[in-house]
Amino acid sequence: MKSIYIIFLLMLSSSVLYCQSDLTVIKINDISFGTDFGGREKRLDHSDVGAAKFQIQSKIETNATITIMLPGFFISADGSEKIPVSFNERSAAWSIIDNVSSRTSFDPRQPLSLSLKQNQVIYVWIGGALHPSKSQRACKYSGSITLTVHTLPRN
């Protein structure tokens, strides 16, 4: 009977271990290109206030791969109008410190591999460029960027 009780306790602890998440990804800021007239390229650097900002933290030391799903267009609320969005090799940046000077630029179109130390926080910023046409209809446009972090055991 005592053995069964111990088994029960161990199974309980195993389920607790399974439910705990060691990795968190939080969106800090939405990306905002502000307002402008059509026909003008609207460029947003990763260091601009309107850039998207994410925070990544792992409770354990691990290797991480960051992939970013980028929109091809920003779309009007009724879905009838589109503005092309572009990104280049310097549109995004990451840092372990929340400031501009320590950032390392990277291409958000390509996966980024990083080594995370225990409880280390990584910040990621993403900018981009919108290309509204001269005849672009005046209205609000939106698009989504999803940042996904996949961790693997460190060798």
Binding site: I6, L17, I26, D30, F33, I83, C139, L147, T148, H150
Partner: protein, 163 residues
Amino acid sequence: MKYIIPTLLFVLLFGGFSTAQETASATTTGTFAVLGYTTFTKLADLNFGNLIIGVNTTVQPTDAQAAEFLFNGDVNTVVQVTITFPSDLTCGSNTMKFHTISPIYNTIPDATTAVQFKHTTGGSASTGADGNLYIWAGGRVMANKGQAAGIYTGTMQVDIVQQ
């Protein structure tokens, strides 16, 4: 005891797998608003021509002498039009009373099929499929007996707010 060791082994393995690989993600929503280009042009001044002393002279908004304006903004969009008429026309220190008549509007350059604004100071209207809105305004004046001869003028201001 024979159950404890396999269970411990199971827990260690299971616990080890739980922290081996994980995936987490977050999404940001991006926004951008395109501003519309708008133009507003005076096409014609209001012209009463020569007045006869003691006789009312009226220019209807549909008349060729009426003031005409063209606004171009977003297509098929409601706008709020406010017209400020002069209370008097002036010629130096001499004045002549100006009386307002309800202005009219249309999305095409045709005053004869235009619609009257709700108020003499304007009201809401809608731009057409090409973003155009035409506005016409007239008025009424009378030169009183003893009115000094001269050219009397006044300023009419039209404000348009795109909703």
